[in-house]
Symmetry: C2
Subunit: 214 residues, 2 copies
């Protein structure tokens, strides 16, 4: 359990759990590693390795117990007491994310949103209250927020990241289209939507050319 | 130029270009590979390899010409006549993406949005007209749309992907939290926001524990 675990493994565990939630909703009780592999687009060997990281082994005859496996992944991924998240930048994207994450993971709830627009101060948007940027530092510290989501424009993102890190946040999900500079202790994950769209467009065009029989 | 190029390379080229746009706006004329490397969080050797893929070489004494390099990357990444994009699912996230991408890349414009809600039919949202799902197939074919963005709930995503692929789309940017099944010719890029947030939370917690000196 104390072995270092890669971001890819954590990503797959998150995906397994979501698939397992779906199976539970459909009343499935057991699943074999090769079946789970098909559902996530992986291999059975990969699934079994990942479950070993979680410390869960199935039965050779009945496979994994869906409920037990879901619980095991939850114990591995989630903090028992939950983790609190702050979102900074309540524009179109920020609001969409508040709606998207609202109620999705009780152990990982967006506790507070921050913006510079006074018209938004005090408003509750998709269940989350919006505060002035000036209150970020104190609120993050008081609430024990450890995760930040950055949805401000690129030219404000570094200043926001600085504030969040100074307040004690240790993980950032960054939607601003730029690379952040952070202390090495802080984990940063970028979601770069423009880059992703340009990638899709490039390969779509390449495949169109191939289809054209060049 | 005909060598296969990886998704990672395309991603970096997209990132270089964005940094170069910023430099152009600041009036910078030349940049060395090691300077560009710092700005994107990479190495100078990597930058030089990537620029060779684009077919651009700088001067040993003055580095890269910022404008020429920007243009070269553009010729490599963009289709000369532009590519058209459809977005399916005009909920909170879909609307936020219409706003986000509006006017950002003239050669990669969202031409049409689709939804099942009649209240949205005919409306222009952030510059993009919303059409009924029934018109997807004909409109995608008529407009020569080759790229699709999927922002519908998970349980509708596969049906939407099927429709887009059948209409001739060759690249999908999928925000629905599930793995799509598509013909092998279609390039799919997933943006899995829940997975990303869970990853950030996991590593934030791990680092909090390390900081605690366990």
């Amino acid at each position: 359990m104390n072995q270092p675990v890669s971001g890819k493994t954590i990503g797959r565990l998150s995906l397994y759990r979501r698939v397992l939630y779906g199976l539970l909703a459909e009343g499935e009780r057991n699943i074999f590693s090769h079946q789970l592999a098909v559902l996530v687009g992986g291999t059975a060997a990969q699934v079994r390795r990942d479950m070993m990281a979680v410390g869960y082994t199935g039965s050779p005859t009945r496979g994994y117990d869906v409920q037990d496996l879901t619980d095991s992944i939850g114990r591995f991924l989630d903090s028992p007491q939950g983790q609190r998240v702050a979102l900074v930048g309540v524009g179109n994207l920020g609001r969409a994310l508040l709606a998207y994450f609202s109620g999705r993971r009780p152990k990982l709830a967006i506790e507070a949103a921050f913006d510079t627009d006074p018209a938004k101060f005090g408003r509750v948007i998709h269940g989350c209250r919006c505060h002035p940027m000036e209150d970020l530092s104190s609120l993050v510290k008081e609430s024990g927020i450890t995760v930040g989501i950055i949805t401000v424009p690129a030219d404000q993102a570094q200043a926001v990241a600085d504030k969040l890190c100074q307040a004690g946040v240790l993980g950032l999900l960054n939607f601003a289209p730029m690379r952040l500079w952070t202390p090495s202790v802080v984990y940063v994950e970028d979601i770069d939507m423009t880059m992703s769209l340009e990638k899709v467009a490039f390969f779509a065009r390449q495949r169109a050319n191939e289809k054209g029989g060049v």
